[in-house]
Amino acid sequence: MDYVFKSYDLCKQYGSFSALNNLNMEIPKGSIYGFVGKNGAGKTTLIRQICGLQSPTSGSFELMEYKNDSKDIVRARRRMGAVVETPAIFKDLSARSNLIQQCLLLGLPDYSKVDGLLELVGLADTGKKKARNFSLGMRQRLGIAIALCGDPDFIILDEPTNGLDPQGIIEIRELIIKLNKERGITFLISSHILDELSRMATHYGFIDQGSIVRQMSSEELQRECCKSVRMRVNDTKLLSKVLDEKRYDYKILGPDTADVYEELVFSDMVKRCEKVGCSIISMEEHDESLEAFYLSLLGGSGND
């Protein structure tokens, strides 16, 4: 699999505080990578390092195959866009002038794409209105349009839906999905609003105290979170025979435990298991919501 970003034991120390602690993370090409963690977990610190605002204390990373200490990393950065915390916009300029300014910064001689970008992010009718007078959602969309100016392969969005109204959140989400599908742009989206992320992310990375606790695809997360029947049996190998026969979706968790993602008829299961010599110790409904999964992974306290 191709990766746009890979980190190797990345550390960042601020005095005695470790913001990043041997962080190992991979962002697959073409994915929408949901970067999840509590406030202060190290999300923004990692993003700042990718953007070149800060450098690692130890460890390294590769951005589009360029090492972080290589002089050529600026080439990789030219292929990315980012909206970190607040969008980088000039408040005294209109949306159009902001995009022209970005084209100038990138050395793009042709401004013909500017109108298309404004159309794409829904700011085509803002005219001469200065960015100072834009709503938070409009600024966020302008930030994304600026990030798109250089036709990037990789876009970083730090808390893109922070402070947006429901309509704004939907618009940003749809825009991200559209760009990912139509242009194949890889996104790294940091957030702690899991519900929102779950509607667009294809991959997840859970960060806690500066380390990646777990990375998974959206299918894996869905499987972890969806309603299931947790079965405890004497031998899961025998159980899997029964489940395979019925073509049920399941996951073996250990030598005696399995989750079955189907609605089971208890008496039918008992009969089938008895036939293959599998004893059922217990069967119970197991329902883990996204939030519950998040809390079980990262812990519930201290999300401040």
């Binding site: 953007c51 605002l53 600026v74 969008p87 000039f90 408040k91 005294d92 250089g150």
Partner: protein
């Protein structure tokens, strides 16, 4: 690099902080000359000499240039401009040099507007120069431009070294104020109101050096050193600012 400078210049010229400072600059000149004209003609029944009002800009400019560079450069940090430049692949030395160039440009533009306003006001509202000729006036504005360029670069360098933190406002203005006090002190020792200068030895050499080569001191005196001294002083301060800003900003952790 050129496109970064072009980008920064374009941003500067559209910045409302910069426009505000230009207006304050022009307004200050008008207010002072018109005010003096009213006082001198209406109350003292005398004619206003251009010598009394032509050099107002000198001391005011230290604070004007400092405030202007502080406002525009810090907003470049707070609006995410610096971050955006890094993300688009600009290197830190390029960002520093481009910002310092913008600081220098502010010094030139503010001095230009002050010069034009002063010349127009002196032509319209005063009876002309009594003790200065055109060459001396031109020398004055040339030295002012050089000094303001150096102050613009120095002030921008301070902000870059502090990473655009809000504390830059305090530090920048405090440095400008401290240098203003230092200027007054040095000049009062070199040119005491009563009697002759009593400085001697190393102190005299240091004070003379400051008067001759520190741009902040150029502002408080009519040009009386050779032009090379002023160029050397201004270029010297600019070079020191560039080197310090490059060295510190390269290792600065940005947010």
């Amino acid at each position: 690099m050129i496109r970064l400078i072009y980008n920064d210049t374009r941003r500067l010229l559209t910045s409302r902080y910069f426009k505000l400072c230009v207006l304050i600059n022009i307004g200050y000149e008008i207010f002072l000359v018109a005010g003096l004209k009213i006082v001198v003609t209406l109350f003292l029944h005398q004619s206003l000499s251009a010598d009394e009002v032509a050099f107002n800009y000198s001391e005011f400019s230290i604070f004007l240039i400092t405030a202007s560079t502080l406002l525009t450069t810090i907003s470049d940090f707070t609006d995410g401009g610096i971050r955006n430049k890094l993300i688009t692949g600009a290197t830190r030395p390029q960002i520093v040099l481009s910002s310092l160039f913008t600081g220098m440009l502010q010094g030139i533009i503010h001095t230009f507007f002050a010069c034009i306003t002063s010349v127009i006001l002196c032509s319209v509202l005063t009876s002309g120069y009594n003790t200065y000729n055109v060459r001396e006036i031109a020398d004055y504005w040339l030295v002012m431009t050089l000094a303001c360029m150096a102050i613009g670069v120095f002030s921008t360098a301070i902000i870059m070294m502090l990473g655009g933190r809000k504390s830059s406002y305090v530090v920048g203005l405090a440095i400008a104020f401290a240098l203003r006090i230092f200027t007054a002190y040095v000049l009062s020792k070199l040119y005491p109101e009563k009697g002759e200068c009593k400085l001697e030895g190393a102190r005299l050499i240091i004070y003379r050096f400051c008067e001759r080569y520190v741009p902040y001191l150029f502002m408080s005196m009519r040009p009386h050193w050779n032009f090379v001294s002023y160029v050397a002083g201004s270029v010297g301060l600019m070079c020191i600012s560039v080197l310090l800003a490059l060295a510190i900003f390269n290792k600065k952790e940005l947010v």
